[in-house]
Amino acid sequence: MDIEVKNLTKRYGDKTALDDISFSHKGKGVIGYLGPNGAGKTTTFKILAGLLKPTSGSVFVNGFDVSKDLKNVLLSIGAVIESPEPDRTQTIKEALTMSAEFNGLSKVDIYKQINKYGKLLELPPLDSRIGKLSKGQRQRVSLVAALISEPSILLLDEPTSGLDPAERMKFKKLILSMKKDRLILISSHVIQEIKEVCDEIIFINNGKIMKQDTVKNLQKKYKDLERAYMKIVGS
């Protein structure tokens, strides 16, 4: 399980969203991708999931080039980017089954996985229509869809947005339980939300990578992560 971003640039017309960024990580663990709003976090995630094309540079996920082999990239990741919304006419069960079928799971595994993660994330009754769910409930459905095929890499872009405090606590527990055997890249602009789950942090601002280091080193150098954030990213 590895992610490698090499000299990645993304421009929207005159605006540069990502400016020649590079970072990489090999092996399991949780990587925090931290920066203020508009720093380029979501753009990076969208490129990693093939939703945007890079202007230049390359991105490899588990050795697969996102620009050339997107299918294999998508087979090895689960992604929750920008509050995904399943088809509003579907039931929770249908939305999750569709995702599992695209991932090639057998009927028995689909049933097992929906039950497992449905209970873990306390989903509403599975016959509830997506259109009737709250934003937080839809977010949890999307998270189950991302987890259903047990991907080795998880991309979670601001995953706690729309969740209430109790749901955030549950989410933190879930991340801690999953980090043992997965690589999780999680973005946030709120350091308090991810500092307890991350092993390593990448700071991004104005489309540039400011620093990548382990939480241990950052704490040793800056005493705490809030101070590190202020020093590296600025106010």
Binding site: L52, L74, E85, D87, M98, E101, N103, E150
Partner: protein, 283 residues
Amino acid sequence: MNNSIQSRDIGRLSEIAVSFKYTLKSYLRTKRFLALAILVALISIAIFAVEAHVGISAINAEYSNASNYLYSFMQNITFVVIIVAAFFGGNAISTDFASNYSYYILVQPARRSSILVGRYLAALLASFSIILIYYVFAAISSFYFFSTLPGVFASSVGLVALFVLSILSFAFFLSSLFNNPQTSTVAVVILLIVVLPIASSVLQSFLSVEPWFLVNYGGQVVYSVFSTHFVHFSQLKIPTKGGEFTITQYEPYTLEGIEIMLGYIIIFFIASVFMYKYKEVKG
């Protein structure tokens, strides 16, 4: 992580099947499916009821046989096809990019082309099932008034399937140009109901040009197969003060109509797949 569970490539056909299954379910649940089915049924019943009550000879003296009758009855079908297909195809791509659905569907390990083919087939089935209501009433009317159904009726059903596919291809392509499903659906309806028919009339009547490149022209074969006195080219001379004014009218040959529809199916569907495949989720 559960090691016994692992994603695997299910192949193009299975991807298409999954996309088809869930899109069709979604279409069948929408109010527009029910509304369109009821509307088409009501129109068909209304036409039949009026004709049965007044008598078809009172409506048109030329209704001397089933073919002539169906030639006239089926002239409304192109309008019905355009409305129905516009509603199922007009937002086929734009809907992904208008809502956060793209963040759900486009991160699934399925080729975008497969997702689109599945949607296309679902839209075909949903549209065609509504169109068939009209055909069922056409067949009932033919049997009721003439106790027979012309052999070309089956040809017309086949041709209308091609017409639905061509309109869907065109609608899918137009929907790829917009990021708002309402705008794209309205654009499809206006273009197919207003702009193309006007263009077709102007080209024929005033410029004497056969509009062989317009899908609504090609689609006329759906009812022209019933014609018992088919004329490809006709001119009507209207005397004016300064001389005379000529109005030209074309009717497509069946093979020509098929070629036009196939052209639209292939060109616009390939263009739709290309647009969908490379469209970015900017949001």
